[in-house]
């Protein structure tokens, strides 16, 4: 399954360039021309990555990123900044962005960052999936007990159940 990437930038040439580069890498790319449109797109579809400009006319990257974090908490957002200053990057990361890139974009750097971020997201999802499955397998709903000592016992059971060791 190809990863879906949302490119958000109010500069259409820049958007076209990013789409061309990422499509050439085999990703499925969708565009949005400001933060507002981006949020609506995220509400509708599930994206594996959002690549967003920090400075946009209608709803800047900072605000949009915070909104996206609420709509789709698992979707990593990579911020692009033209200032190249440490401060704006730190602000973006503090706001919850996954990483940042400085303009002009170095295509090699972009490719590596996208691969890494998608890989990270995949691992996170996998981890979450496994945990859920583990929880489902060791559902102690059949045993009655809500006291702390019983709960402790359930936890120990969940821990030792997958292992071969004798208890």
């Amino acid at each position: 399954m190809t990863a879906k990437i949302l490119v958000v930038d109010d500069d259409s040439s820049h958007r076209t360039m990013l789409k061309a580069v990422l499509s050439a890498e085999g990703y499925q790319v969708q565009e949005a021309d400001d933060g507002d449109t981006a949020c609506r797109a995220v509400e509708k579809y599930l994206f594996d990555l959002v690549l967003m400009d920090l400075r946009m006319k209608r709803m800047d990257g900072d605000a949009a990123q915070k909104k996206i974090a609420v709509i789709s908490p698992g979707t990593p957002v990579v911020i692009m900044t033209a200032y190249g200053s440490v401060r704006s990057a730190v602000e973006a990361l503090k706001g919850g962005a996954h990483d940042y890139l400085t303009k002009p974009i170095d295509v090699d750097e972009l490719r590596i960052l996208v691969t890494k971020t998608l890989h990270h997201r995949m691992l996170e999802e996998e981890n979450l999936n496994l945990k859920e499955r583990l929880d489902a397998r060791f559902d102690f709903g059949e045993i009655i007990g809500r006291s702390p000592s019983m709960r402790e016992l359930f936890e120990t059971l969940a821990l030792v159940a997958p292992s071969e060791a004798t208890v």
Partner: protein, 400 residues
């Protein structure tokens, strides 16, 4: 018996007169003593009051002079003599008319009509090209009967205030330049980013070592070059906030030398550090000065051939006014006509330079209320260049 009685009478009479005389003499003596004592006390109090008044006036930060109706100086304090750069021991009374233009400054009106001069800014020329900004206040001296007999002249040194005003203006000007900088960065880097990305894509479609691939690579490199200039320009125009702290200049110089040591080793360049370790700490912004010295050092290293030498020397200026750092090389030197332009932004003689290195040094020096100068060749030398960075010690500043 009558004789005896008469003698006794006369003796008593005599004794009484003698007693009266002694009493009068004693009383006179006591009175005289009291008068003398109070005279002495009065005199001493007067002297103390006079001394105290003199001390108060002498201790003032401002120059104070009193003049008579003819404009001659009757009395003045040390600060007044210092500001007017006059010798402390003059036998002849100074005629203030020879120092100030009485009509222009309004002192004439104060003496003739009793109209005071309030806070007038004047330029006092110490000599041909050195002048001092002074704030002049002149008030008439009047006795109880209302007779004017001269005036009091108060001189306030404005040079520190003028200097701070100039610094504020400079910072404001730089801030005005720096403000649109952030927006400009966005407007330039966005299109650069698009072009760079497309150039990369176009190049990728062609095999390695094809001309098309090479052209695309050139495009990418040139875009990086434009971006480099934009970055330098933004750094240059960004208002610099001075964050001074007590810094050991020798440590700072050692740090700068260590930063360039890799460069000097590969080129076989000798670095001489002449920096006394016992120097007191100087109040300066260590980050800015590191950058300034680094720029000067890199220029010096660039100017010398392999096997050349670069010398960095620090010294404290007299009266702790500031410090001086000299960076000297024995390289190819700078032509006199070029020397005038080297501190201008974007002036460069190098193919890949942005021409902002020395402009930055000057900006940093001015930020420290100092300056930077160039001598090529340095005095007493046949070749090479010496840059002198002067930094005012900010701890010695005091606002009067």
């Amino acid at each position: 018996m009558a004789v005896y009685e008469a003698a006794r009478q006369s003796d008593l009479h005599h004794a009484m007169i003698m007693g009266g005389i002694v009493l009068a003499l004693g009383g006179g003596g006591i009175y005289f003593f009291i008068v003398l004592r109070s005279y002495y006390l009065l005199n001493r109090t007067l002297q103390e009051t006079r001394d105290y008044t003199r001390q108060v006036i002498a201790s003032m930060v401002h120059g104070v002079l009193s003049i008579d109706t003819g404009g001659r100086v009757v009395s003045c304090n040390r600060q007044a003599l210092f500001l007017l750069s006059m010798p402390a021991t003059t036998i002849d009374p100074i005629d203030l008319k020879t120092v100030f233009d009485f009509q222009e400054t309004g002192i004439a009106q104060t003496i003739d009509q009793g109209v005071p001069v309030m806070n007038r800014e004047i330029r006092y020329h110490r000599d041909q090209d050195d002048w001092l900004p002074l704030l002049l206040t002149v008030t008439p001296i009047q006795d109880e009967a209302g007779n004017r007999n001269g005036a009091v002249v108060v001189l306030r040194d404005l040079s520190e205030i003028k200097r701070l005003e100039a610094q504020v203006r400079r910072t404001e000007r730089l801030a005005a330049v720096g403000r649109p900088g952030a927006g400009v960065a966005h407007e330039i880097r966005n299109p650069l980013s698009s072009i760079r990305g497309f150039a990369y894509l176009l190049g990728r479609d062609h095999g390695k070592e094809t001309p098309q691939r090479e052209y695309a690579d050139v495009m990418v490199r040139e875009i990086d070059r434009i971006n480099h200039v934009v970055t330098d320009l933004l750094d240059f125009s960004r208002p610099m906030v001075l964050e001074p702290e007590a810094t050991m200049l020798s440590d700072l110089v050692d740090h700068v030398v260590s930063l360039v040591s890799a460069d000097t080793k590969t080129h076989g360049i000798d670095i001489h550090v002449d920096c006394p370790t016992g120097m007191p700490p100087v109040s300066l912004d260590p980050n800015q000065i590191t950058q300034a010295l680094l720029n000067l050092m890199l220029n010096a290293i660039n100017a010398v051939e392999t096997g050349g030498a670069v010398r960095i020397r620090t010294s404290v200026l007299h009266e702790g006014e500031g410090v001086e750092v000299q960076v000297e090389d024995n390289g190819h030197g700078i032509d006199p006509e070029v020397q005038e332009k080297i501190f201008e932004p974007f002036y460069t003689t190098r193919e890949r330079g942005t021409g902002l290195g020395l402009a930055m040094v000057r900006k940093i020096a001015e930020n420290h209320d100092g300056g930077v100068g160039v001598e090529s060749p340095p005095p007493g030398k046949r070749g090479g260049t010496r840059f002198t960075l002067f930094l005012r010690n900010m701890q010695t500043r005091a606002i009067p």
